[in-house]
Symmetry: C2
Subunit: 401 residues, 2 copies
């Protein structure tokens, strides 16, 4: 690619933080002048009559119940913390099926059914209104026993669940926003990772996107989510165990050696740029799976250089476009891939010395119209079986280069 | 319940083993005289022209490829073995969509599209024709490196995948087969656990049932599956870690103490019989989840007494019938619950001293027509979030008593 053709992926982000009517934080990340949203001269207030989210909930008998937020229970069988999100049952508001709460407010219309109180935006992040994890001020965050039973441990489900909108255009997708906007998304992920990592009790920040009705997404507006967990998730714990054992034996980073092995043989490498490599992992378990890793050892998104982020902004788009051509229908038309895409970052405190940033993108689509279901073997035993081989996945992605 | 009303759940099982045309084992478990299948006087041969399943596969160029069976790859990121079932792509036979390969052969009709070469049966078990795990005679079972890379370990996917048909009636379900037939199913599970545990390389036997199109079941004939794994599955490994830690601290069995705590408080106990207790676990993660455990400490199904198996045959039916009333539609009609039901048994060798048998039954149905999808948090991070509380699940199951 010549210099002339290089897309403009300079970070030019104007960050404007505000609050929604119920106290939730909302942050605009604008990249296009004149900044369409977030400017101090524009409307920033959320006019909805939402009650403060920390205000006590009054029941039918007029009794006020303090908001305690989600509860975490420790599963004694597995040692995993399970958030109980039943407080979300207290939902007072559900948008009509045809409403899009992620669309910008309509000019001139009464603003009522959307979450974003401006008539346009580039990228915007806000706290989920019905979060699985939420820090409620003043709530005790210590672990306690239920009924005095040592096997029944609980604590407050502190943390955050945020929504990130990649575009104000409800018909766009992350693959079509262009490198400049992707760069803004990368800046927003980086910002959120940095800020959420600093919140009390947060142990891990996870930026991810669920796309497609096949995985239960009912809102087609292009968006992702960001979770700030108060524990290290089970998959990350498994990866840390492996990475620590490898480090003890070899003195090296596991994911560095994984990347080097892939580069040495090349069979499953599907995309290379100056700073990034995409490959199908040796033991890929999903019908489509690819990992995107930086060439340099970095623990998380905030550790990336400007050059690495600029490169990522074009490389990830290339990868997403290929994934959207992975399957074709009977007429040879590309089938947009339902996928889950998530950033594996070093936890906030634990295991940072053995962690290495990578993006995992995968799909449950086995073939047009055919899904991999997670039944007994996967759901009851957490044991995966691949219906294909990593080499077949890689060959298809290489064909599309 | 008076003695007069006690159902007949005596074990009266006639076991007849045979082979299908391609060499797979098929075993009839008959409980009703005159034994409708499996009698030596009846047709037992499979007349289909199936090639021996271990015979070399000849490709389009006339080149013969030896059958090597499924491959296991060790995921370096998590330490988990992943079977690569791409050999299943060599399928030479797929039943037409309207055929039921689990139905008995039709009397008088040319037997061709079914797996069971008899005109009737009570309970039957046979090796899956396209298994994810299969022991191929003569194949080296040692671990080797691919391309000499220490991070790329592979070995043969030895083991077995079996199908168990609970009834010859395609419209039946396990909940409706009656206690006598359920007893036969329990005997078949016990038999298979005992036999498969003795196969070389098998580390864990898992008897389970997937029911409902919501979890991808396309064959509605009442059936389950039995997997003989050549490794201890990730969930079992997690449970062993917890059980060992508990045993080291207290000297006691973790699942004994879990059961005792549930019985002490009773809030989540939904069913009690002489030998069995069903409860919703403290940190249940699924929208519907219940565990059924014996009162006596036993590691696996073969360790159960006759009395415990007889009791199980009625108790499990009671539980399944309640689960099929858990959700009701708009007219108050019960909605048959899509569910996964699996027996957690002690592995063959490892951790038998800290394991305790229990059945886990759970569903992805959150509400009529609403599924819990496993998206980014569950599928990428293996972290579960409950959309309800265990106490709500228990209250509903208690209501149905």
């Amino acid at each position: 690619m010549s210099t002339e053709q290089q897309p403009d992926v300079t970070a030019r982000v104007r960050r404007t933080a505000t609050r929604l009517a119920d106290g939730r934080e909302l942050i605009y990340f604008d990249d296009s002048e004149p900044y369409v949203s977030g400017a101090a001269t524009r409307r920033l207030d959320d006019p909805r009559p939402l009650p403060d989210r920390y205000a006590p909930v009054v029941d039918a008998d007029g009794v006020a119940h303090p908001v305690t937020g989600p509860e975490l229970r420790l599963d004694p069988l597995t040692g995993e913390w399970i958030p109980m999100a039943a407080h979300r049952m207290n939902r007072t508001f559900l948008p009509p099926a045809d409403a899009n709460p992620l669309a910008p407010a309509r000019p001139g219309a009464a603003y009522q059914d959307g979450e974003i109180p401006d008539t346009d935006y580039d990228v915007v992040v806000f706290e989920n209104r019905f979060p699985s994890l939420m820090t409620v001020p003043g709530v005790d965050t210590g672990t306690e026993l239920v009924d005095g039973e040592p096997l029944w441990q609980r604590r407050a489900g502190v943390g955050r669940c945020e929504v990130i909108c990649f575009s104000s255009d409800p018909t766009a997708s992350l693959a079509t926003v262009g490198p400049r906007r992707m760069r803004t998304v990368v800046e927003a992920w980086t910002d959120r990772t940095r800020e959420l990592s600093a919140l009390p009790g947060v142990e891990q920040v996870f930026c991810f996107e669920n796309r497609g009705k096949e995985i239960g997404v009912t809102l087609h507006h292009p968006h992702g989510q960001i979770y700030a967990f108060p524990y290290v998730t089970p998959r990350t714990q498994a990866m840390l165990r492996q990475a620590r054992a490898h480090h003890e034996t070899t003195g090296r980073l596991l994911l560095r050696d994984v990347l080097d092995a892939e580069l040495r043989h090349g069979r499953r490498v599907v995309l290379e740029s100056e700073h990034w490599v995409a490959y199908v992992p040796y033991a890929a378990r999903w019908p489509v799976e690819v990992h995107l890793a930086p060439r340099r050892d970095v623990p998380d998104l905030p550790a990336l250089t400007d050059a690495e982020k600029a490169d990522l902004s074009t490389t990830y788009l290339t990868l997403l476009r290929r994934l959207d051509q992975f399957f074709v229908d009977g007429d040879g038309g590309a089938i947009p891939l339902p996928y889950i895409s998530g950033w594996h970052q070093a936890p906030v405190r634990e295991g940072r010395d053995v962690s290495r940033l990578h993006l995992q993108v995968f799909s449950v689509l086995r073939a047009p119209g055919k899904l991999k279901y997670l039944a007994g073997v996967e759901s009851a035993m957490a044991s995966w079986i691949s219906d294909t081989t990593p080499e077949r996945i890689a060959r298809r992605l290489q064909e599309l280069a």
